[in-house]
Each structure stands twice: as C-alpha cells, then as structure tokens.
C-alpha cells in the first residue's frame, strides 16, 4: 500500500485547494447592497444604530464578543435548529458535534505527532493520546448516531423526502462509512490510535514507513477520499457560513463619504448592464441607467 500516503497528500491538497478556490470566488465578488437581518449580534441588542437620532455622528460600537458567542452557539450547538426544528436537531446535533470532535481528535493527533517530532515524549504526549482516544471515539460514535438519525429522517419524513436527492443520501452514507471504518479500526486494530498517529507523523515528515493493517488502511483511504469529495459539495457550508452570516446577514456597515465602501460602490456603478426590459436602457453603465429615469 505504498500509494496510501500519496492518496493522503492528494486529499489534503484537493481539500485546501478546493476551499481556497471557493473562498477566492466569493472574495472577488463585487460589493453587494445591504441585506442584513436582525437581530445582528454585534449591535448588542435586538435593534440597530438606526434607533438613534443622528446615528452617523456617533462612534460605531460593534460588540464582536457577542457575535463570536452567537456564532459559537450556532456552529457548535446548531442553535437555530434547536429553536426552530427540534426533531431534526436530535439527529443533526450529534452528527455535527461528532464531526467537530473528530476534527479535534485529528488536531490532537497532529499535536502529539509534532511534539514527538520535536523530541517531546513522556507525560504530555501520553496525556494527549489519552484525550485523543476519548475525543475520537466519542466523535465517531456521536457522528454515527447522527448519520443514522439523518438517514432515517430523510427517508421517512414526508417534508424531507421530496427534496432529498440521491447525493444527499450518498453524502450521509459516505460520512457513515468513514466514521464506521474509524470505529472498526479503533476497536479491532488501533485501540490507542497510536498507528494512526504514527501515520500522521510519517506524513508530516514525509517518511511514512510502516504499512498499516488493512483495517486501518481502509479507514485512511475512505477518510482521504472523503476529503477529496468534500470541496465539491454543499457540505462546504461549514466555512462558507462566514460569508452567509458575516458578509450578508450581519453586514450593516454604513457607507460614509470617502470610505472604502464608497470606492467599491463607485466601481460597481461603472459596470455596463445589458438587461433588456423596455424600461431599462440596455448597454449603458449602471450609474447612467439609474440616474436617467424611465424614458
């Protein structure tokens, strides 16, 4: 299985590359009109600065901590689902929290590997290993429970069935396979995840020496394939949330004269539009069309 490390490297490259391409696509989009939705947590109340007389003369107070707490609740505990769709939350929360624990498990294994690479051994690495076992197994079991719950819900709930595509089932089954193979690898072949940690250390130092057992190789293969698949799916919402929430829903930055926002607006108003309805003068710049009025 000399190909296994190559697969792992490719999967990491595709994952990072895919994320970068998606992020760049959105970063390069022009400024958009405001479309915020309240409550906006950095406003520190349900309302906005529009509740104040002469708001533009007053210093902007943005409560970033509130926003971080709000988003942490949203990401970690799926707050919106808890409040508005409790039935689905019972499956979605273990699914997502399980995946977060698996990510934390990987981070712990990477941390342990780095410490060992730098010659730190003994108490710290052993402690990390012990924590990693608990976090990893808990994550895989929770995630598996979530996957099964989501599959049952999608297959049996009439509201969901009509909107669930084969790829939606495939995505959940794929994650279930990755998590299930992880549990099998832990139970039958690698109770302390020491083999997986060795493998990660080998990847970091470009020196994967030992060939893991078939059980572990299956797990690593499925995991790597999943990382390759991930950027091409809507599951990338885990990082695109930044744009959806911070750049749209919470984006209430006012446009002041001479600001960078005004500069971006001026650039956008220079675009040439070609809408063809009779009341729009097609082929003209945005600014000309908007200022000319209906002819």
């Amino acid at each position: 299985m000399t190909w296994l490390p190559y697969l792992s490297y490719i999967s990491l490259l595709v994952l990072v590359g895919g994320i970068v391409v998606k992020v760049i696509k959105y970063i390069r989009m022009p400024i958009h009109l405001r479309w915020e939705l309240y409550p906006v947590p950095h406003e520190n109340k349900e309302g906005s600065y529009f509740e104040e007389i002469d708001w533009w003369k007053k210093p902007r107070k943005k409560h970033y901590l509130n926003q971080i707490v709000f988003m942490a609740q949203e990401i970690l505990f799926i707050r919106a689902l808890y409040h508005h769709n409790r039935k689905m939350w019972y499956a979605s929360f273990p699914f997502h929290f399980g995946l977060y624990l698996v990510i934390a498990w990987l981070a712990l294994l990477v941390g342990e590997s780095l410490l060992k690479i730098f010659g730190v051994i003994g108490g710290v690495t052993e402690a990390l290993q012990s924590v990693a076992v608990v976090v990893g197994v808990a994550g895989m079991i929770l995630g598996t429970i979530g996957c099964v719950g989501l599959l049952i819900m999608r297959a049996t709930t009439s509201d969901l069935k009509g909107y669930t595509a084969p790829t939606d089932y495939f995505n959940i089954l794929f994650i279930l396979a990755v998590l299930g193979s992880g549990i099998i690898a832990w139970f039958f072949a690698d109770p302390h995840f020491s083999v997986v940690q060795e493998y990660i250390r080998g990847l970091i130092t470009f020196s994967v020496a030992a060939t893991p057992s078939k059980t572990i190789a299956w797990y690593i293969t499925l995991f790597s394939l999943f990382l390759i698949y991930l950027p091409f799916t809507h599951m990338t919402h885990f990082f695109m949330k930044y744009f959806m929430w911070d750049k749209v829903r919470f984006e209430d930055e006012p446009n002041f004269r001479g600001s960078s926002i005004e500069g971006k607006i001026a650039k956008a108003l220079n675009y040439t539009q070609n809408w063809s309805a009779p009341h729009i003068q097609t082929g003209k710049k945005w600014s000309e069309t908007a200022s000319k009025g209906v002819e």
Binding site: R34, G162, K292, V294
Partner: protein, 536 residues
Amino acid sequence: MKKNKLTLKDMSNASGQLVELNQEEFMKLPPPYNTPDAQPPLKALTEEARGKFECDLDGFMAIKILRPKSRDEEERLVNKFLDGLRKLLSKENNWTFLMPLSLSLEYCAKCQTCSDACPIYVSSGKKEIYRPTFRAEILRRIVNKYIRKQGAFSLKMTGNDIELNWKLVARLAELAYRCTLCRRCAQTCPIGVDNGLITHELRKLFSQELGIAPEEIHTKGSVQHLQKGSSTGMIKQAFADTLEFLEDDIEEKIGRRITMPIDKKGAEILLIHNAGEYLSWPENPSAFAIIFDAAGIDYTLSSEIVGYDAVNYGLWYDDFQLARVALKHAQIAKDLGVKKIVVGECGHAHKAISVIADRIFTGDLNIPRESCIPILEDIVVNEKIKLDPRKNDFPVTLHDPCNMVRLMGVVEPQRRILRKIAPQFREMEPHGVENYCCGGGSGFAIMPSLNFPDWRSSVSARMKFKQILDAFQDIIDPSIKKMVCAPCSNCKGAIRDLLAYYNAWEKTGIAYTGLVEIIVNAMVDIKEPYIEWPEF
C-alpha cells in the same frame, strides 16, 4: 388539477390549475372566527380572465401575464427567462445581489426548518406550493441544469432534473408573488440561506428582463412615481392643494392654523411621507405637522416630483427602479440643502432609502437618512411636548412592520413611546424582530386587482389577523374599543382591508391607526380627541 401531493416537477408537467385552495384546510382562527361561516368565501377568477391570462398556479392572480399566442412566442419567452437568469448570475448585471444570491443558491441543505416560519405556508394549511423552499428549489434546479449544464448522470444524482417550459416560467412568475419578502424564513435557517432573497431575485429577473411585474407596482407604481411625481398619481399642483386642505383640517380640529413648510432651503430635515397617507389617512401627515410644530422641529416637505412621495416600490422587484427613486430623493435633499432625510411612517420606504440604497449613494448625494421613530421617541420620552396618557386609555397593540423592524432594526423606540402614552399597551406574540408580516408586504397591500385581495386577506394576512385577535382575546367583545397601532402605510392598508374583509370592527371592536395619531391624541393642548373611531 393535481390531486396527489405536489412535486417540483409538476410545475412544468401538470396541466391546468396546479392547486386548489380549500378554506377548511386553512389555519384555524380564534373566536369569533372559529367557525367556517365566519370566513368570507374566496372569489373565483372569471372565465374571461382565465382565458386571457396565465393563472394556472392556485386560481389567484397577482400579475396579469397574457397567454402566449403560439409555441414560438412561448419559446421566445422561455429563452428570455434563461437570458435573465444568466444576467442574474453575472457581476456586471447583478452586482447588487450576486453574493447573497449565489450563497443561497448553493448551500441549502433542504432541512425545511424555514417552512414553519412562513406565515403563508402555515396559514394555507401547509400547501406545498407555498413552502419557502419550493420556488427556491425550482430555481436551483433550473440553474444547475440549464446554466451550469450538469450532465445527465449528475442531474439524476443531484435531483436537478426539471423541464423548463413556458408553463413552469409562467407559474414561477406568479409564485414569486406568493411571498411577502418578510424573510422570517431566513431568520430560522441554520446555514444562512435566504429563500426570501431568491423570491426577490426572481421578481427582478421577470421585471428587468421580461418586463413582467404587477401593474400596480410597476406601471402605476414606480413608473408613475418617476413620471408624475407620486405612485398615487398625485401631481405637483394636487400636492400643494392637499397641504392647504390639511392645514384647514388641522385648524378645524385643534383650533389653530399650522403651516406645513414646503421647499424651505437649509432646513434641518427633509420629511418625506408615503403619499398614500395624504389620500387615505390625511390625519397622519397632519399629526406629524402638529407634533413637529409643537416640538419646534426645523423641517420641510418637498413639492418636487418624487420628493413628496417616500415610497420606493423598486425595493420589491427592480433594482433600477429602486435606484432611480432613491437617487431622486437624494438629489432633492441635496438641492434643498437639508442636513438629513427623515422618512415618515412607511416601512418599506425606511428600508429602501436607509438600508438598501445606502450602497447606491456616492459623494454629495450620500446625505444622512433617518427613521422618524427616534425623533418621535425623543419628543415623547423627553417630554418636549405635553402629553396625558389618560387620553389614550384604551387597549392598544403594536404591529411591527417587517421592513422597519426585522430588516432595519428599529425595534424599541416605538415601544418606549407607547409605554409612555398608552396605559393599556399590550404586545402581540411573537413581536419585535420575530413579528409576522401584515400580509400586505412586498406590494401586496397595493395590489387590488381581480381576486388577489381575497388571497391576501384569507392567506397572507391570516397569521397577522390571528395575532391581533389573540392579543385582544380577553376583551374581544365589540363593545370594548381596541386599537392596532401600525406605524407603516402599507401595513395600515393591509390591516384596513383585513379588518374590513372580516367585518372586524362590528364583530370585535378592533380598529387601526398609526403611531403619530396616538401621540397627538394624548397631547394636552388639543382638547378634542384626535383619533376618530369608526362608526357602528
């Protein structure tokens, strides 16, 4: 007509009217409307209308699309729809909403969490066609199949296989006007997807590419606004005459004449009202004049065309019409040399000029804009005029206009005002940013043609009616006069029609008004009650 559960593919495959609304399936209303006979029957479209216009969605009609005369014409319109869709996804044509639209198209997990947040879906008895994800999912599938050109296998796997034909396009156009853009659905989405935005963008596609929009918001709305001066059709001279009439009326009511300043150069504030107030509720701009005069506010009205009407219907369906009206408002303010523009009690005008058009103004047209509510709060709470709350000793509940509250964040000042001057103030549930739309949002309040008002009052406004009835359920006896305060012209229009539709004044004693009328009603200096209750 479709008998079994509706599927997305039925939008293009099924023939005839897609769904039939059954009032017995609608969300139940509280007493005294908890019996079937307490609800007026729904009017059907005439055979003539059915023959002439596309109406194969739910038997109601918001936009009058003439049925194409030939297959060629149908094909031309479908191709135009696709052209528009491409433009919607290009930065040159749609820089205004490209990022939010792309995100909402790409990341829906189809968990349906948004469905129960939608008052139309819930009120209709959960008709599939009104589910917030229904129209959004149709658009996603068209984009994936016809714009991104997914292959056959991919289409099958991703469930994006849908046939684009004229039936689908015509139904989608009508379906874009079965959502009030209240964006309550977006508020509940765990990912941040906004199906309200997708509806907004669909409306833009139809207007900006195919020239299809309800005539009340386009031809008789924003076009008339820009050409004649007001969406009401009020020309400049008529506006001057109206102000004179209002001054006479104020004098008659309060015993002294108040001059409403017009085109006063260098005033602190340019105050712009929804011109519908002058015609339908003249007591509202009059109340502003009385309050501002008493508080010594330095303001002016404008008699320039467009300048005396705050509405901006483009907000609901067309970015160019939105920008044209907003720029005209800003130009008038600049010419008058005012320090800021203040919008009267009109929710969508608030959001259009303060929030949405904020990223259209540049240079000296970027004049500060403000809601009237904080100024009124300052006057009332800081006692800049003498008020006696005992004069408002009747039950009052507050309607939160979506555009002002959930979509702009003006939540508390109006409450602080009412707590100060209305001793029997009580909240609806839910309220504030979680409020329900009046049912007339996104233009519905001003779309009276054919049988659409029936749909509005029985479906889109049903949840609001339930909220109002629930708020007063302990005093629902019609002998107890009660008031809904709606600080928004369109909301008032929708609530007026809603109360009339259900004969609510006679059956429950519920009336409606704006916020400034309640303030003036409490003014110590004004001897006679300012609020005029309906006659029994």
